[in-house]
Assembly symmetry: C2
Amino acid sequence: MAEPLTSTEMAGWRAYIESSQRLMTQLEDDLRADSGLTFADYHVLVLLSEAPGRRLRMGELASRLVFSPSRLTYQIGSMEKRGLVARESCPEDRRGSEAVLTAEGLRTLREAAPHHLRSVRAHFVDDLDEAEIAVLTRVFTRLGERLRASRSGVTQ
Amino acid sequence: MAEPLTSTEMAGWRAYIESSQRLMTQLEDDLRADSGLTFADYHVLVLLSEAPGRRLRMGELASRLVFSPSRLTYQIGSMEKRGLVARESCPEDRRGSEAVLTAEGLRTLREAAPHHLRSVRAHFVDDLDEAEIAVLTRVFTRLGERLRASRSGVTQ
DNA sequence: TAGCTCTATTTCAGATTTGAACCAACCGCC
DNA sequence: GGCGGTTGGTTCAAATCTGAAATAGAGCTA
């Protein structure tokens, strides 16, 4: 308890933080160069393309993207201007609205995906062997579940 | 090559991205609540506190933080206003400047560190066993080296 | 040493992100 | 039906971040 993190733990923690930052920067640069998209743009396109009806409620989208509500409002507004998504108000709940993928958005995603995935492979996945991927998957899946659970109970 | 990422790889990649986002959000929230600091603020304080003379050239600091030059200029300006660091011009190279940790900055770091480290432990490290930490450390250390190397050669 | 090129950092304008209000619509419940 | 207490989203002002100039000094070579 005197030392909240052992030096081994600290080393792992720091490597994780720094490398994650570098990885993101690299992927964002590639994505911008190849497709003129932001990582957030891309992620929105992916989630919408997988959703039934290619549409998702704002709240649902925000929680999957781990975005604050106001950030999502802005993000969708920006993508709407570029014609990648449309905003429709929700029939069941008139407070709500949903983001819908446009044909243009789908086309953009299909064009961007192979480049982006190649970039993810080149900068990250290819560096890992099978066992490492398995560990990462296990660790981060578990972590995600824990964090999702712990935050939903903290309204304060 | 038809499928740039296998479904196993994709699952790992997505879990990593989403959980990392969640983790950062959680840590930032804790840090703000406990100490009124940003993750970036904290990181700057740590790096400066470990540097010889508790000072670092802007460029060096930017590269370790993985910040763009202009972002670092802004970040240090903001911390300067709050009295956490001072900016001094560099004697050997008059183009350069260095950020120096102030006594106030050191005090702030010492006050914040235990809380923050407890938070890192609670939300991340405690969830991992020794073998997992070892894998993460190995993977992300290697990744960091690769990324550092590959980007330094891309001036275009 | 003048001229060139390169490097370190800042400046600038615009885009994004933040947290704190705010607004409307939903949900019991009287 | 109407009143309080949530909930889903948006708005707003302020803070931060970005990439593309602009500055200024270093360093080499003629």
